[in-house]
């Protein structure tokens, strides 16, 4: 991870994420649920976008599509110039490993692995040597302020600390895009602010492009801009 000067959004550069006419339909038996309707959205490099909206409006669905966890039913979706809606499952997995970091509401750490090993997980998919993996993980843990907890198991950490370990895991392979689905949804106010400040720092100091789904207007204040999703359609907020 290279330390760089505070980045600004660069409107003249091509956007990192380009979404055109994107629809997602889930079929449950006979039932067809259209979760996203013809969404159009550009996300510039260096953006910190907060996605808000009522429960069931399709926030997670949109986030998962952008992160390459699922494929759209219709429309196009490119990230950094690559049409990820056209990738095979295996290619998509490789693409995720190289390009996206994930932060979930419930941290999703592996319970039997130490913080250090949890952070190292994404690096197992790279060609890095064991020593280098350890070093990179140590740097990431340092960055989230948990160097002294490297050997701890997840159940020995507070919720806020676990979420910071999860953030370290998300950034350890230095992806350009971070997606966070209600990262503070399970945290008290104080821990939530710590986590949000950290995310903000990653955006401002390290130029990570962030997309964060949240229910909390206070959390959204940490972002650069907020979009509202309602019944599968983007509305300006």
């Amino acid at each position: 991870m290279t330390e760089s000067a505070p980045t600004r959004i660069l409107p003249q550069a091509p956007p990192l994420v380009v979404i055109r006419d994107l629809s997602k339909v889930y079929e449950r038996g006979r039932q067809r649920i259209e979760v996203l309707h013809h969404v159009n959205l550009d996300i510039p490099r260096g953006d910190f976008l907060a996605l808000m909206g009522p429960s069931g409006s399709g926030k997670s669905t949109l986030l998962n599509l952008i992160a390459g966890l699922d494929l759209p039913t219709q429309g196009s979706l490119s990230v950094d110039g690559q049409r990820i809606d056209r990738l095979s499952a295996t290619a998509l997995a490789r693409w995720r490993a190289a390009n996206v970091g994930f932060v979930f509401q419930f941290y999703n750490l592996l319970p039997a692995l130490s913080a250090q090993r949890n952070v190292e997980l994404p690096l197992l998919l790279t060609r890095l040597s064991a020593a280098r993996r350890r070093r990179h993980a140590a740097i990431a843990l340092e960055l989230v302020g948990l160097s002294d907890r490297a050997a701890h198991q997840p159940n020995e950490l507070s919720g806020g600390q676990q979420q910071r370990v999860a953030i370290a895991r998300a950034i350890v392979s230095d992806p350009q895009l971070l997606v966070c689905d209600e990262p503070t949804g399970d945290l008290d106010r104080h821990s939530a602010e710590e986590v949000l400040t950290l995310l903000q720092r990653l955006n401002r100091e390290y130029g990570k492009t962030m997309i964060m789904v949240t229910h909390d207007p206070k959390a959204a204040e940490f972002s650069r801009r907020t979009l509202q999703l309602d019944k599968g359609t983007l509305v300006d907020g």
């Binding site: 966890l69 699922d70 994930f102 039997a112 997980l121 197992l124």
Partner: protein, 386 residues
């Protein structure tokens, strides 16, 4: 290899459950190790050694002796290339529990008849020259710590010594070895001079227990056997001549059944093991769906997840299975001690290889259903708890 911590972490997740599974796998493979040693031991005599040998004993029973004079008459029959003879002694060394075969043989011809018993030439000469001399197999010598030069007293059960005592003392002049590992059972016998024995006993003198013939042409063995028996038909000592092969085949049939029983037992054990372990694996997988979803999220391919779950099952089987085989290996000598050498089994390389193969196959069998499930699992569904 770098995924090993991941596998171990998966197994350590529920320590008690993993331990119980390991124990049931170990128990199954300990049983396998012992039963397979039985199978190997029984299937061993399937060799071509002795294809040209006939055994002539009394028609009435094996205990009934035959006149020593038969030797020359048998030797003169066409198709008979060589004859030797032996008599059962049935002596006891120190304690009846120390049972081993011991009998009197003709030192001049016996080892020519049994080339698979290898006695160094110098020791063979010593055996020929020493009237009270005896030779034993390597296994037997090892068992009692005998060395050439030792004096070995045997207590007679059938033939008291002429001097009135029941004890016969022999000088150990040689130790023979089986020419091939599968013939090791023949190393558990003691042989001594027929002359010394015959002169020393005051019962059945001038008789021998049985004759062994080598035929010129193995394909004519049956005809030669009939010719021998015809020679002594209607005499006071009628004979029954069998090929060693026939003898072994009859034995092997018996063994076929044992092989079948062993296979049936192992089938039942492994069937239960597959059900049990399969169930545990399925349960463990259900609990770990969110974790596997995370692995997929951060970029593990479907195939990688499949292999990871499979490897976990195979690793579990290997650890438990090897533990079981080691247990079997350690308990076989204990069984030999407990049965005073009557049950002397050992685990052959064959069993280890077969065991490892079984572990792998069972590991894949129990790991495949959950592994396929994990592979097919959709990330978004798993993350949403669907």
């Amino acid at each position: 290899m770098k995924y090993l911590p991941l596998l171990i972490a998966a197994l350590l997740r529920k320590k008690v459950r993993t331990l119980l599974t390991l124990l049931s796998v170990a128990a199954a493979f300990a049983l396998f190790g012992m039963l397979d040693a039985v199978r190997v031991a029984f299937e061993a005599p399937r060799s071509v050694v002795g294809i040209d040998r006939l055994i002539t004993s009394s028609r009435l029973s094996l205990i009934q002796p035959l006149p020593a004079a038969y030797r020359a008459r048998i030797a003169s029959l066409p198709g008979v290339r060589a004859v030797t003879f032996a008599s059962w002694f049935g002596g006891i060394y120190q304690d009846p529990k120390n049972f081993f075969a011991n009998f009197a043989v003709d030192p001049a011809t016996y080892f020519d008849m049994y080339p698979e018993l290898v006695l160094p030439p110098a020791q063979r000469l010593a055996f020929l020259k020493t009237r009270t001399g005896a030779v034993v197999g390597q296994t037997l010598a090892d068992r009692f710590g005998w060395r050439v030069g030792d004096r070995i007293p045997l207590k007679a059960t059938i033939f008291p010594n002429r001097d009135g005592s029941a004890v016969w003392t022999f000088a150990l002049v040689g130790i023979f070895q089986a020419a091939a590992p599968e013939l090791r059972a023949s190393e558990r016998q003691m042989l001594f001079h027929h002359d010394y024995f015959d002169e020393g006993r005051d019962l059945d003198q001038g008789t021998v227990g049985w004759y062994v013939e080598r035929v010129t042409d193995p394909t004519q063995a049956a005809r030669v056997a009939q010719a021998i028996d015809r020679q002594f038909a209607n005499s006071a000592y009628e004979t029954r001549t069998q090929s060693e092969r026939e003898f072994q085949l009859a034995f092997a049939e018996q063994i076929g059944d044992i092989g079948l029983i062993v296979k049936a037992i192992m089938g039942a054990v492994f069937f239960t093991l597959v059900l049990l372990t399969g169930n545990t694996m399925a349960q463990s997988l259900r609990e770990r769906i969110p974790e596997l979803a995370v692995l997929k999220t951060i970029g593990f391919t479907n195939r990688a997840v499949l292999l990871l779950v499979l490897a976990e099952a195979v690793l579990l089987l290997w650890i438990g299975g090897l533990l079981g085989l080691v247990l079997a290996r350690l308990s076989l000598p204990a069984i030999r001690e407990a049965t005073a050498g009557q049950i002397d089994l050992s685990m052959q390389t064959e069993s280890w290889v077969l065991g490892l193969g079984l572990m792998t196959v069972i590991g894949i069998a129990v790991g495949l259903p959950p592994a396929l499930k994990a592979m097919r699992m959709r990330i978004v569904d798993a993350l949403a708890g669907r």
